[in-house]
């Protein structure tokens, strides 16, 4: 992991909500190709940090650099265009669209045909749409969803909805994939499969992954490096072994009686 480029650099970032610091003075660095976990007890500010990274919220203080450029204050779609895609803790699919259409939306920003090309049904429209469809179907195959391409997303079973959300995020061709509690609501077997899938995604697509989990055991197996957030502050970071032995982390979790 030596001398890799820093893909994401978070410096002294804070976010205040009505006088309350949800995230306070957080630092975080992720290198190209890493698979990093972000853990912490409930209410530690993990999702808020994610929302700051993806532009849903703007940091009150501090700096976020993605791929070497500052992204504070950019809108979510601008950050996505720079190569960071995410999933949500509470699944946010386009429920009434088909599985295929869900993935195709993620290709939209790479579309080669403009609005007028579609209105006039120019050849570029047909080519662009066909390319999108082929690529989206390939993606569904990877995620074993090809048989359900025409199914309406809200009719999928829960586990498949999660998989679809990850597929959709990956279809945006991100450099950095941010997964917000992807295993929430899954049983142990599904969770193990998911963790293997995540590792495989990283190797196959050669991307960087930042993963939120609140269950510590889970992340230990899959992540190379772990950050621990508690009450808005980064209390530890290191390899799974270091984190396991870290007194502050144990206290934070014991305090929560997990």
């Amino acid at each position: 992991m030596a001398a890799q480029q820093q893909l994401l650099k978070v410096e002294n970032v804070s976010r205040v909500f009505g006088g309350l610091k949800a995230v306070s003075d957080v630092n975080l660095e992720i290198a190209d190709g890493e698979l990093v976990g972000l853990i912490g007890p409930n209410g530690a500010g993990k999702t808020t940090l994610f929302n700051l990274l993806t532009g849903v919220y703007e940091p009150s203080e501090g700096n976020i650099a993605f791929n070497g450029t500052r992204v504070n204050g950019l809108k979510p779609y601008q950050i996505t265009k720079r190569g960071a895609a995410r999933t949500f803790q509470n699944i946010r699919l386009f429920s009434d669209m088909t599985v295929l259409e869900n993935v195709m939306v993620a290709y939209h920003m790479h579309a080669t045909h403009g609005l007028f090309s579609s209105i006039l049904r120019l050849p570029t429209h047909f080519k662009g749409e066909a390319d999108m469809k082929v690529k989206a179907l390939e993606f569904l195959k990877i995620f074993k969803l090809e048989g359900k391409a025409d199914e309406v997303a809200k009719n999928l079973p829960y586990g498949e909805q999660r998989r679809l959300e990850i597929a959709r995020a990956l279809a945006a061709k991100p450099k950095l994939l941010l997964l917000d509690e992807p295993a929430a609501g899954m049983n142990p077997q599904e969770t193990t499969d998911l963790m293997n899938l995540i590792r495989w995604i990283r190797d196959e697509f050669k991307i960087t992954i930042l993963l939120i989990e609140h269950d510590m055991g889970l992340v230990m197996g899959v992540c190379e490096r772990i950050y621990v957030l508690d009450r808005g502050q980064m209390i530890a970071s290191g390899t799974p072994e270091q984190i396991r032995a870290n007194q502050k982390v144990i206290e934070a979790y014991l305090g929560q009686e997990v």
Binding site: T47, V56, F88, N90
Partner: protein, 295 residues
Amino acid sequence: MTFDYIVQQLINGISIGSIYALIALGYTMVYGIIKLINFAHGDVFFVGAYTGYFAAKAGLGLILSLVLAMVVCGVLGVIIERLAYKPLRNAARIVILITAIGVSFLLENLGITFLGPQAQGFPEIVKKTDFTLFGGVVIDSIQIIVLVVTVILMAVLQYIVHRTKIGKAMRAVSYDMEAARLMGINVDSTISATFAIGSALAGAAGVVFAVMYPSVDPLMGIIPGLKAFIAAVLGGIGIIPGALVGGLLLGVVETGVQSIPGMSLWRDGVAFGILILILIFKPTGLFGKNVREKV
């Protein structure tokens, strides 16, 4: 523009604003509880005015006419809710909204068919006397009655919402309908009560409006209804004090604009302009809280 003139316009504005506020309360209460813009509310107002009209022609006095109009409108509100809105409790909101527009058309056209499209003069049940306050500032007896009726009804409403069991139920249902149901609150009867109270207030507003501008017609509810709705949005729809402030504010601004020579035709435009400005800068109204969607 003298001080007297400004005070005079304020008085005029507050009296029409009080009527907007009374109607706006019904909009805001219904919105607060089932998130419906009840477009039929302005027509409940017209029914109230006609009830007052017939009561007054039958020789009843102001107070009896008012009470009768409130009872009739309260019942009408409950009937509308039970027949038209209750079957749609779980439907998309736009569907209920279209239904409300349908109910509004229905009431207006039943009115036109059975009461005739022409305006009728409202019997003089209150003698209009002017009282000079100071300088050239005049307040008339009808304006006083409007203010008194508004203040009393407001006080009663505050009491009901904050001090009674049904008021507590209303607040609970508007906060979280499902949780309220689980806590054993009868959601359906609470919603009916909300419609009854809101509609009764519109009925009262109809009578005082008809006393102030002594005439009634089946389409009289459209414009005051729309204005009251603006007032409710201005204050922050769903928030009871917001409806009061929004109504008064709208009444005062409108009267102010209308009093400027050459501007009278722009009165309605200004009302909408203010509405849009407030919405752009404070999208949930003056008293509304910004609800952030949890991501």
